[in-house]
């Protein structure tokens, strides 16, 4: 502890005080013929003043009494006795004693104030320095080191930081542990900033300071005095609170540094993923475009190729188209999985996207009857048209693949509570119940050894898209044979469009 104890000055101080008075008496003795007694009193008073200035309060009291005694003994007639001839000297003694005591006390008080101010100044400088190094601390270890050093050197306490662990328990983070009670620490951790007035003081000799961050509690500071003087510790309560809040700010800052770094890493990996995806999709699509285009050109050559070569050209064209859609599916899945797909949701009628999907698959649907049953009062739905078109196309392609020509494929929709159910139904082979849920996983197909082409990505893509829209997708069996794939879209609050008067001129 830097602060010396003023209440119990060393014995040496008393000895020095006594010595000073004796020396004064010795110096004054030869001067006796030349000086009035009044002036000798002055010399003693000066001595008391100096003693109080240098040695403190109690030695000054001693000096005051001793001075009066020495004055009486050596200077007041009759000399060398304590007897007093003239009674008026009693007044001199009393005044001398009173003046000596009061000046002594005042001077000592002033000195003490000055000492305390110096102490305070030194502690404040130390506090500033700690605040500075805390604000520059980049690691938890650095924060702990700064705070522990300050608390040990300036306040004279050993300390520890308790930080929340993964399961909400408090974990000691410091190197030199302080013996603390876990349940009190947890209570301190749960303290509300607004209600907390005093540090928790369950176990004697240990104090708990909650580290209040601006957004949440960051931990608990545990302190225990090195010399066991808990009262001195409580006297430093305000300082300790300041230290606790500095530590809390430092911990909070470290937390946000971590968050920012994690976000930066996320962004970098996101960028990398997206550039890999776009490079990959470009590198895969270009040769496929060439392959498909050339095969198509070959198949359309004039004059027509001989039959065998024509068949080969057609086969190349068909297979390259299939390869294209496979690659598209893989890229879509990769993009959906990488979180690269941003929904461009807009309010629109379902009818439009159904029409677009049918139009896209016009050629593949040629061998099937397609029926649509969309109620005219269906509300507008908010969805990403491109993605929902993809869902419908995948479901239609499945229906085509798994139902014999000339089959009938139906697209139906109806509102059920706060959702709209869209169903794509076929009269094909249906799906065994055990496989229905699994169907929507990646690389899972209706039957394991199917002669039909495909790798089982289409439905996984459908599920990813529908779920991104806040809907669900399932496969139902139809009692009349075949299966229905049903997905839902939430209804939400469609915008209202004012009705418009009819054009008068057009009326005939």
């Amino acid at each position: 502890m830097l602060q010396p104890n003023h209440d119990q000055p060393a014995l040496g101080h008393y000895a020095l005080a006594a010595l000073a008075c004796t020396v004064t008496a010795l110096i004054a003795t030869p001067l006796r013929p030349y000086l009035d007694l009044v002036n000798i009193v002055m010399l003693f008073l000066l001595t008391v003043f100096l003693v109080s200035l240098r040695l403190g309060k109690q030695p000054a009291v001693l000096a005051a009494f001793l001075s009066v005694a020495l004055f009486d003994f050596f200077f007041v007639p009759p000399r060398l006795t304590f007897a007093v001839a003239d009674a008026q000297y009693l007044v001199t003694f009393i005044v001398m004693l009173a003046v000596a005591l009061v000046t002594g006390q005042l001077t000592a008080g002033l000195r003490r104030q000055a000492e305390i101010s110096t102490q305070e100044a030194r502690r404040n400088i130390a506090l500033y320095e700690m605040a500075k190094s805390l604000s520059g601390a980049m690691t938890l270890a650095h924060v702990i080191e700064c705070s522990q050093d300050f608390l040990r050197d300036v306040i004279g306490v050993k300390s520890d930081l308790l930080l929340p662990g993964e399961q909400g328990e408090l974990v000691s983070a410091g190197k030199h542990g302080v013996w603390y009670e876990a349940h009190v620490a947890l209570m301190a951790y749960a303290e509300d900033r607004r209600t907390q007035r005093h540090p928790l003081t369950e176990l004697d000799g240990v104090r708990y300071y909650t580290l209040h961050g601006s957004t949440r509690t960051r931990g608990v500071l545990v302190v225990s005095p090195l010399d066991g003087d808990i009262d001195a510790l409580d006297a430093d309560h305000a300082l300790l609170e300041a230290v606790a809040s500095l530590i809390a700010i430092a911990l909070e800052r470290l937390h946000y540094v971590e968050v920012a770094q994690a976000a930066q890493i996320d962004m970098a990996s996101e960028r990398l993923r997206s550039s890999i995806l776009s490079a990959l999709s470009h590198d895969l699509r270009t040769p496929l475009t060439i392959l498909y285009g050339q095969a198509d050109a070959l198949a359309l050559t004039k004059p027509p190729l001989p039959e065998k070569q024509q068949q080969a050209a057609d086969a190349i064209r068909e297979q390259s188209m299939r390869l294209c859609s496979l690659v598209e599916n893989l890229l879509d899945m990769a993009r959906l999985h990488a979180g690269q797909v941003k929904l461009r949701k807009e309010w629109q009628p379902l009818e439009e996207v159904v029409g677009a999907a049918i139009k896209l698959l016009e050629r593949s649907l040629a061998g099937h009857m397609i029926k649509t049953a969309l109620p005219p009062d269906l509300p507008l739905l908010e969805f990403d048209a491109v993605l929902i078109e993809r869902v419908l196309c995948n479901l239609l392609e499945n229906a085509i693949k798994y139902s014999p020509e000339p089959g009938t494929i139906e697209i139906k929709a109806k509102q059920v509570d706060t959702k709209v159910e869209v169903a794509v139904c076929d009269n094909g082979t249906g799906i065994p119940e055990a496989r229905r849920e699994k169907l929507f996983d990646m690389f899972v197909r209706g039957s394991a050894e199917s002669p039909l082409p495909g790798v089982g990505l289409g439905l996984a893509i459908c599920r990813a898209i529908v779920e991104a829209h806040g809907g669900e997708i399932r496969a139902d069996d139809r009692p009349e044979g075949g299966s229905c794939f049903v997905f839902t879209l939430p209804v939400g609050n469609p915008p209202v469009i004012e009705a418009e008067a009819e054009l008068p001129e057009v009326r005939v």
Binding site: T286, R317, R335, E346, W347, P349, T372, A385, V386, A501
Partner: protein, 230 residues
Amino acid sequence: MNSAMARIIVIEDESQIRKFVCDALHEAGWQTFEAGTAAQGVVEAGTRKPDLIILDLGLPDRDGVEVVRDVRAWSGLPILILSARSAENDKIAALDAGADDYLTKPFGVGELLARVRALLRRNLRTPEADGAVVSFGSIVLDRAHRTVSRNGEALHFTPIEYRLLCTLVASAGKVLTHRQLLREVWGPSYVESNHYLRIFIGHLRQKLEADPAQPQHILTETGVGYRFQL
């Protein structure tokens, strides 16, 4: 309608794609000029007096949309865009900048030739030559008398529906983006109100199409806009 000797510039950085596109166009009897970069393409477009430009959006030296803008600054000649699927934003930007149509890679030769033919034909036609009366399917639109009828029976339209129909018909065969239609029919302050457009297109389909869920004339270009087909 003579598009037999049309001159077509193909701006595409992948030489193999450029080759089969040019071969196919040659085969169909058109004259082609090739460019591997945007810079070269713009020079060719300025010097060859082309009738049509086929432009890949993914060029190495410049954004394809900028090329469209450059060409549009001095010419209204038809521009056909080639782009990858799942690049709707690029297509929309190119169409808004003035491109006429797009083809999604991979595409077949048949599709390519059909689009090129349609664009060349469109370019030969002038609005005046169209005349006031247009018929498609069982519908007859008389723009002089502002009437629409199906099999001789009058159909009733609101002013916006009628304006939308006329806009679509005037650009038959061409893709119109949501933004272009909204600006044309509702005005510039409505360009973000896509749902208006969708609802009114729905109304038109209800009145004009035999099966609104499987339209034959007002076709949806999903995520991009609409195309009217006569």
